[in-house]
Symmetry: D5
Subunit: 121 residues, 10 copies
């Protein structure tokens, strides 16, 4: 079951400067609530930290907690964005999920929060 | 025969936030009305939902309904955009078709509706 | 309906020499007899002609005749090999079909007839 | 000899909406007027139609009419743009030629006419 | 739990001819028995059928049954080979697993049974 | 008109040793005798010289002499092999033509003469 | 131990003109302070020089001085940016580190200083 | 020795229209003045002509004149830009050099002159 | 210092069957004994186990023990082969190292022991 | 002027075992004796050493000595093979040169000496 309490943060090591952190997790899997078949995809997180940065291993464990969860593409993506928003309160953030094809169609969902223009640096 | 009634929608799971949904269907085929030969291409749909999102399997069946239809590249693309516009009324949308070559020339058609700048997030 | 009578041949223009002809058709489509959904794939034909060579446009029309046929991967491949064997009687031949994925699994079927070692030149 | 009368147009099927049409011809050839050696390249046409769209087969025949013409890269590109401008009067257009290398140098020429910013949709 | 009873077979549609069937499942996942972390990889099955062929959807469900099983790379690969050997008794077979990296090292395991030289056609 | 007299040779600079020479001409064009449309392809020549080697610029001019010739794929390939065989009498030779697609099908023709196994070094 | 004194500079050879210098070091390695395992990545430096440019060999030796240093991704990137800022005082600069995956997640960190918009030329 | 007098120009064939000319020379070599070892790279020139365009063969000979010159990356790039600026006086121009790696670091230098925004068409 | 005692083995889980295990370590680094500069490369180990298989994490730690060792390409490769030969006594084994370029030249070293033909399955 | 005396060797560090050494030099240049224009290519050396191995830096300097030499493709390749044969007397060797295109044709020359089958390990 997706568990936001798995997310741990550390203090931004360079709080006086805007910079971009990107984590790309290519081995995400959850379950389609309609068919029961597994879904596979890549989760990309990109953000400008304010006071806190998500710790990498805790982020991995958090993503693994979706492994047997029945949840749609759109819901996964918004949920990850909401949980990270609450944990880190970044200045700007994008969460993108990129799903392997099902029945000849593959999908991408992209959510941004805060001031996403800061990510263009 | 292309049938827009095949398109089913579900309620936007996160109505208070702009986000982007992209579906890429790499196995589209219709028929050239001039020569009778099949055309093959990729259909890409990208939109920011308002109240409704197109359901993925219904979108696949809708695209399959073009299989034996004689229709030109430009007409296919505008028709898909019109049918989705009517079904979902998204805040912004782009429909792009990317066709395999015929006689050494390959083509791309791109239609946008609504406020397409919202897709740049 | 697959129609072998569509296959036309022309006389081998260089009958005294072994040489290899390969045709790669990247836009093959048929229908899954179980689900009714379309299948998409590439058909590769490679042969050493004896007295006859299949004419390219007739081969294209023959492949198009599978468009609305419900037929399994293994049967398509063996059927194409049988029809070409009967039409051309080549010295050696390989027919390979390479199918786009369904449910996360993609497949390849390869059939050879006659003396396939002649194709290694 | 390049012949603009080969260009045929059909009425824009969706005149009330801006959309982009792109044709990519990867098998263009003309002749270098200086050395007499053939030049090979790709011609890309991208435009927003106003009242007329160039018909695909007529565009192919028009491009083939350059086959034995001695003409420089810059002149080919501007000539194609001028002929299409006159035939279609599009709202905006880009013509780009991308030439295979000669003596270790390859070249790209890009011409735009009308309001090219409409192509950014 | 891996369940070989999920494997269903159908009769070889062309028993009098040697031919090759290859299924490539790019979305395999199991669990490392040592660390509890998920492993991800691709399973490739290639065989010359004798009397029976594994049915594609049943093969998918069989592979999904490893999802929460703690099992090493070498054991997964040999187990899949053993289960398919018992279910189909093919004339020759190769099972290969190709694993995404862990700690900077990625691995491939390849098992063959029967007369694997028949797969070289 | 294809003109074998354009082929010039120079003496093998190292006659006492078997070695392989390969020339890859990616800009070949001729004309389809049936439709009158141009064909485009790559010609690859690979040989072990005996007493003579074809001179590179003369080979280019020879290939250019096919530019406006109406000739089928199989005939082009065998003709180039025959002309080079007569001009150089190599110990072993392969001529391969690789054609861009027409109507969704692309083709490869491969002819070998002499002792082609010498090319495997 | 990272040693900024290794950085040597030379006078900008064209001080009256804005231009961009980019150095891409694909063989960077440091050590994870948590696990003690080595990290591997690419460091990209892009800047518009003011009066000084970093000398290439000294930059290599400076990067090598991180080889056995235990330091996190975010700290490495900010430290390199700070040391170069102090050594060169460029008009604008971006430092990006691109790390190979650990546990299925790979990361990118990007820091900019000064007027980074000058880099867009 | 680099020799700007090698650069010859011809009159812009379409002076009333802004268009972009790009020449990419992938076989540039000069010598490192410090180590005496050869440097290899690609030179890209992109410009909007005013009254004059550089002639392609003279540009090749000009680049070859750097072959045995000891000169740094930054100086090569600015020198080429200065010589072309003086020869053609283009409306806008970018010269970019892209160097193969030395000691694990590869470099890119980019210089623009005039109104480079005209190149964005 | 390279330490073969770091290598741990586990019993072959399927001793009665020949199968191939391949581990690809893309993040190997050692030091050039001549220049003191770091070398970077990929180590590929491929073997048919007899009674023992090298444990993956111990193999990683063993490779890390070369990090600060001054040792030539040829010596690294033979040493890894010797240490694994002694630890596992495989039926056949290949060790290949693939080094990033130095001064424009990159190198590959390949050592095999035992009956390497067993690896061709 | 090509100078074989630049080639230095060191003693084979593992004389009792056949193994393969491969050096790939991607930045080779010489001059066409006919046109005076520079030629660019890649030189690949692959050998099984007997008593001696060519030292890498001396091999680089030897290749650089061809920089301003007018010499044909076939002669370069045979000359490098002869010089290395004399310097090292390897058990088996292949020298391959791979040249960038001239006039739309690119070439590969491959020479082997001694027992080249030993390189297949």
């Amino acid at each position: 079951m997706p568990d936001p309490k798995l997310l741990e943060c550390f203090a931004n090591p360079r709080p006086g400067r805007d910079f971009v952190i990107e984590h790309i997790a290519e081995e995400f899997t959850s379950v389609c609530p309609k068919t029961g078949h597994p879904d596979f995809g890549t989760v990309t997180l990109r953000f400008v930290p304010d006071g806190l940065c998500v710790e990498l291993k805790s982020f991995k464990l958090y993503l693994q907690s979706f492994r047997n969860e029945g949840i749609f593409y759109e819901a996964v993506t918004n949920r990850i964005a909401d949980d990270l928003e609450q944990a880190m309160e970044p200045k700007g953030m994008v969460v993108e999920t990129n799903w392997k094809g099902r029945g000849g169609i593959r999908s991408v969902i992209r959510v941004s929060t805060g001031d996403a223009s800061r990510l263009d640096m």
